[in-house]
Amino acid sequence: MKIKKIPFFGFIAISSVFVACSSSSNDSASEDVTDSAVAEAKVRDVNAQNVFYSIPSPIETTSLLKAAGAKYDSKILNPIENVSNYSTVASKALNLGVYGSDLSFTSIYDQTQESMLYLRCANKLASGLGISGVFDETTSSRIEANMQTRDSLLAIISDSYLNADAYLKENGQPGVSSLIVAGGWIEGLYIATQIAKKTKNTGIIARIGEQKSSLENLISLLEAYKTYNESIPTLLMQLNDLKKVFDAIPVTASETTASTNKEKGLTVIGNGNTFNLTPEQLKQISDKSSEIRNKIIK
């Protein structure tokens, strides 16, 4: 028996070193995937059915809010003092998403000082989750150097979130990554509903109605990882309650059309869906999203 245990523990030791090396030397990893590794990974991919559900980034939704005429209001953001309240993996991940949305909001409205403060919150939560090399001093320096160029600034924030997403997926934590995405989406919806409540801006109200399909994608994303973290099933229940309100929104659908401008290399897709949100439904979405968001940030 002893003889049989030696190679077993030897294998575990070698595996541990191998995993540690592969996760700490991502940048130098070979681009060629070995046949044996791929053969094993194939099994995983077939089982996962290879379907991704993606959610628009907080930067994208915040840009849409600004384009619709929303004004900057710092009072609706998650206070930076709250950052020290988050101790569990789930609360850190969700609030990394929340602060990511807030950081996008402050950056799009050129609020330099607030952006640096929210960046520090994101850095603290990312470090707490063991994600290295994102929202760190290098990111901070890059942001400071690009404060006057909003597009570069937004690209840096997007890169940071991509790197965090990649890091977590590489290290077997896609469930944590899905919580970051969820936190960002919920904060984005909360910001939009708070602005809509005050301003009754029809452009923003239309954007809120359009979140119906993103919510469906978010639920599908979280469903795929519900066994990864005990907070995900609870969050799913809350999101499914919110979905009931969205499901009641009448949708006018018309057949899509496509026309391509070959010179510009751009296709314009016409028709599609229109979401006709009533004031009562807006209030219900606003109340429900506030309830979910306030539980996350407390």
Binding site: K4, F8, F11, S15, F18, V19, N26, D27, A29, S30, E31, V33, D35, A37, V38, A39, E40, A41, K42, R44, D45, V46, A48, N50, V51, F52, Y53, S54, I55, P56, S57, P58, I59, E60, S63, A67, D151, L154, S158, D159, Y161, L162, D165, A166, K169, E170, G172, V181, E210, S213, N217, E255, T256, L266, T267, V268, I269, N271, G272, N273
Partner: protein, 151 residues
């Protein structure tokens, strides 16, 4: 009997460890491939912060569901390792109507578009069947990257 049970358990455990190790290695290598080879092609658009990457072999498919908003321009980039051959993609609306098919447009690896009304699309990516007689099918990383910019 007990010894045999232990050996079987040990073999099963080793198999699980091998798969976990291989998965972690492949995942890290795919992420590196995407960062180095795919992300530069998304410019001048801003990528949306999510990595949709999978390891596929000959004949396999992957898809991405995403909402696209009115008022933005978008780029969908499909990036695959060379050994997979001419990976194709098509974009379908929620009724299943094909709005873009890469083989009908000279096999580009990206598509730029804008929507007049907010729409949900499915991006379907197909790895071609191999003509090789080898028992080992070619495999590699495939990534669907979405970029946006103000329209």
């Amino acid at each position: 009997m007990s010894l045999m049970k232990h050996i079987y358990s040990l073999k099963a455990f080793l198999a699980i460890c091998s798969i976990a190790l291989a998965t972690a290695t492949v995942s890290a290598q795919c992420a590196t491939f995407v960062k180095k080879k795919c992300m530069p092609k998304i410019s001048p658009f801003t990528q949306n912060g999510q990595m949709n990457t999978s390891t596929l072999s000959s004949g396999q498919k992957t898809s991405l569901n995403l909402t696209f908003y009115a008022g933005q321009d978008y780029r969908i980039l499909v990036c695959a390792q060379e050994q997979l051959g001419d990976v194709t993609f098509k974009i379908l609306d929620m009724q299943g109507k094909v709005v873009f098919d890469s083989p009908e447009n000279d096999y580009p690896d990206f598509w730029d578009f804008k929507v007049k009304n907010t729409q949900q699309f499915i991006v379907e990516v197909q790895v071609p069947e191999t003509e090789s007689t080898s028992s080992v099918l070619p495999s590699g990383c495939v990534s669907i990257v979405v970029g946006f910019k103000k329209g």
